[in-house]
Every structure is written in C-alpha cells, then in structure tokens.
Symmetry: C2
Subunit: 314 residues, 2 copies
C-alpha cells in the first residue's frame, strides 16, 4: 500500500531514534522493543465536525491529533516511543499539509518521537494516530487499581476547552482575550506525559479527561469496582472560568472534556510522595469509597442528577 504523502511530506521531518531500524517506506516499520518493558498501545481518531470544528487551523489539528494519543500514554504512566498516522483528506492541499505537519512535529519533537509509518486516503477529513509507548511491568497505571480511602486528584483546571467550544459556537459570550486563552486549551492541549511518568509507583489508577470529569472518573470507579462522592465545592475553578456563572463552570468541568488533564487516585500513605514529585498544579477533589458509582454533591450535600455525564462518541 502506498505511503506517498507520508513519504513526501512527513518522512523528512521525523525524529530519529536508535531503536527504529526501518521507518516509513517499507511494508512495515521495524523497531527494537526495549527489554523488560511492556508496550502501551493506543489508537485515536479525530473527525472534523465531531472532535474539532470545521475551520480549525491545520497546525492545531496536527498538534491535537498527536496530543490526544500522547494523553493516553500519560494516563498509563508510559513513555512515548513510536507513532503512526492515518490521514483521510478530502483533497490534497499542500498548505494545509505543511501546517498540519508543523503542528504535529512540533509536539513530536518535544518527546523525540519518530513517525514510523502511516497512510493517506481520500475521504472526509479525519486523522487517526497510533501510538506505542513503553512502561516497566510493575509501573503501568490502569483504570482498575483504585481502592477505598485513596484520594482522587485532577491535574490543572478543567472546563476551559469546553468554554472555548461554546464561545466559538456563539453559545456563550466571551471577549477576545479570554477566548484566545481558552482556545489555546481547546486547540493545543498539553499532554501530561511528565505527570504520568511521575505518578509511576504512586497513583493506584489514572485516566485522561477527554470526555469530561464525570464520565472519565466513572470509568475508574466502574473498573475498580468502587465509588466516590465529590462535593461541587471541591472542583477547582480556574481564573478564566470565573468569568462565567458558577453553574455553567461546574457543568463544563463535569461534562465538557477535551482538556486532556489527568484524573488519578493515590493511596493516603503516598500523599507526601505525590507532593514531592508533582510539579504542576493539582487538586484533591474527593476520596474513593466502597459505595459503587459517582455522586456529585451540591452545597447541601445532596446528590445532583447528571443529565449528561460527558461527551460520548455516538
């Protein structure tokens, strides 16, 4: 199968790594896996009109397509190793491809991540990235390790990407400076690879927040067979989010997704270590208990009914 565009437009810009014996241009890439590590493997697809708005810059699409894949590795505590790219394009537009490539490789180069393969086909605009990372066997962080008593944490602040989306869709008013700030969160999510690596041996479970805190934390709870009660008041509201009504801010934090922060759990005895290793802002939002399910509590400690737990594909 032909790799023409990948060959011509992408191959010359890829990083090199000693463990890549054969990169783009043969029937397969050949790589040498490290000894005594597991491979963490994930695939993600961004579709125009579903995962990004029509008219989004090609540069940001290139960044984001890779960022969402890196975010999956971050949530496992894995270190990025190799990536492949499948592009579906309505037509060949060299300017678009150049911009896309720059966005993609700017992020890839931060991790010295080589593009080792891919393909292109004609169709509606979508970008699939296939990423492989490595993690020592005892250090991989899954969704299923949370235990009652573990603290529940999130990195950074949530809801800003969702705020940008609403503002761009004219569903919420936002002046240009905060819009630009929010849009940076939407278009250029920063995958929490360093956090994932720092959480090795500390976090009992983790997930990246792509679909909203409620939906993604629920995955941890279900797969760990535990539960949690989260008071609304525990949700950190960023300075940017303080410009909108607090109810709207809570809704976006709980269900907008697309921020690609991490939600993770840590046994109480490891909290001192967490403080030492984590260099980014983070917040404890609750504690795992043994009552199945997620309960979001209002100011009177009454559970809210969540109509929309997060963005669900289909």
């Amino acid at each position: 199968v032909e790799f023409k565009i990948i060959d011509d437009f992408f191959k010359p810009y890829s990083s090199h790594r000693a463990d890549v014996l054969l990169g783009i241009g043969d029937d397969c890439a050949l790589v040498k896996p490290p000894r005594d590590q597991l491979l963490a493997i994930s695939t993600d697809t961004l579709v125009e009109g579903v995962h990004f708005l029509h008219g989004t810059s090609a540069h940001s699409i290139g960044h984001k397509a890779l960022a969402v894949s890196l975010s999956d590795l971050a949530a496992m505590g894995a270190e990025p190793a190799w990536v492949l790219l499948s592009l579906s394009l309505p037509h060949i537009d060299e300017d678009w491809l150049n911009q896309f490539r720059q966005g993609f490789f700017q992020l890839a180069s931060e991790y010295n991540l080589p593009l080792i393969g891919g393909n292109t086909c004609q169709g509606s605009l979508s970008i699939a990235t296939h990423i492989i990372g490595v993690v020592p066997p005892s250090k991989a962080i899954t969704r299923s390790g949370a235990q009652p008593g573990d603290g529940i944490y999130i990195t950074g602040y949530l809801g800003e990407a969702g705020l940008a989306l609403l503002a761009l869709q004219h569903k919420i008013p936002l002046s240009s400076a905060p819009l630009a700030q929010a849009q940076k969160r939407l278009d250029y999510p920063d995958p929490r690879i360093a956090v994932g690596l720092a959480l090795r041996g500390i976090a009992s479970a983790a997930i990246d927040i792509s679909d909203g805190l409620a939906a993604d934390l629920s995955h941890i709870l279900e797969q760990s067979q535990v539960g949690a009660s989260i008071p609304l008041a525990n949700l950190p509201i960023s300075p940017l989010m303080q410009s909108i009504p607090v109810e709207k801010a809570h809704e976006l934090i709980l269900s907008a997704g697309d921020d690609y922060e991490l939600c993770f759990t840590v046994p109480a005895k490891l909290e001192p270590e967490l403080k030492q290793v984590l260099k980014c802002p983070y917040h404890c939002i609750g504690v795992i208990d043994d009552i199945p399910g997620l309960r979001i509590l209002d100011a009177d400690a009454k559970p809210l009914s969540l109509q929309k737990k997060g963005y669900e594909h289909f």
Copy 2:
C-alpha cells in the same frame, strides 16, 4: 476516549494470548513484547468507494480490512501478534457490525490474533487496522535487499481481483460462476503469512501486491537500486483469466492490484531451498539486473510503455 462499540461488539469475541496483559477497555493496551525479536508495525485504511465498492458485504469488509494488514506483515516475514481497529461509520447498524465482526474475527482466529484496542467515530465508512507482528532481527525481509542475479517470483496468480472489480462495474462481461470465483479473490484475499514465514532467510526482498505488479515490483527495484526486464510471456495467466483477451489479462496482472499475493526476490543459490519450503503455487517471472527501472517486454522483446503502473491512492 470512549471505546463503547469496540467494548460491546468486539471485545467479547477477541482471541486471548498470554502476552496481552491488558486488552480493550483502558487508556492503552499493555502487551509484553518477545525478547530478541523486532516489532513489525503497519497501518492500513480501507475507504468505501476507494478500496471497496459501495454495497460490499460487511462480512467481506471485516475480512479484507484485516487481510490487507496481515499482508503487510507477510511481506516482511513477520508473525502476527496484536491488532487494533479504528472504525468510521455513518451510523450504528447492529446487523452490519455483527457481519463485519464475524468476517474480521474469522480471519483473526486463524492466526490466534487478539484485538487489543480501537475506537469508533461517526463519518463516511472507513476502516483502519493497526497491526503489530514480530520477526527475528536477521530475518526481516525488506524491499531494499534485491541484488542483480536474484530471481523475481510471485505467489499464486494475479489479476483476478481486478477482473472481479471490472465485472462488478459492468466494464467487462463475466458469467456468474467465474464472477463468483473472481469476487472471492476481491472480497476475501488470503494473506500470505505462511509464505512470508517460509521466505525468512531465503528471500532477499519482498512486497505484497496491493497496487499491481508493475507498481509494487518497481518499489523493490527503486529501494534496492536495481532493475529488471520482465517478458510478458513470463506472467502466469490463471485458468480464470484465460476467459478474457490476453492483453486485458496482462493489463490486470500488471496494474490492477488488490490480489495481496507476494512479489519477492531470491538469490540463485537459494532456489533449491525455495522449492523445498514453498507449499503454494509460485512463478519465476524474471531476474534482477543492474539497469535501473522496470521494463516490461513484449513478444519481440521491446519494452512496453506503461500508462498506468498500478493503482495509486490520490
């Protein structure tokens, strides 16, 4: 990111392998790579209207999506290990998904190949498969190892998938029995994994024929910096292809593709070993020389001009 359809429709049907520590349902799959082997990695996409006709059965699409990926492993001499699947679907159709799944897993089970991840999104119908195989470092067969004097071989017979496509498009008349036979080649290509494994240590170069013999052999010649002259008379014509004019048969063999046979080269001294290990029909069609490029020779040994070297995406 959500794996709902992959979880619900696919996960219960996947094979199990001891080296899969975590399959579908977390941020990444976790697998244990074998020691002292390389990973062969490839991604392929099938798009409705480009790689298969509108109206093609979901069962055959499921088969073919995996077959084209397996064919890439075959061409490297790699053994299938793990596969991921990205589905873009215009809408959710349980019947379609059931048929697709049966076609996919019927082939996957032949190789005890587990589906370890994937995703689904809404969009025009396309299927991307991401496959990983394993091969000992000294045994991987690339496109770049052909040397002058090596024999050029193809497995089986070419052109039958292209014949089916023309007949289904009413561009060529074909009665129902031969059409059914040809359509089996188009819809259910049989990846040459066993041949790829048998060619380890014997073939100096290999490629799978997805785009037509002329285009794919040309890749070997370019990447090996060698050439070849192939007399038309050397191209094997299957019984099925004998029902159409010989010129049309040659055209299909050279440029139709989609048969997923292998084209490979073997040093003269290893030809006896080739005979011993290869259990399928195969033909020697020429010899590698040091004059760059591919020349197809007519009955008078004059080079033909090839208008269309094969199917090129875009």
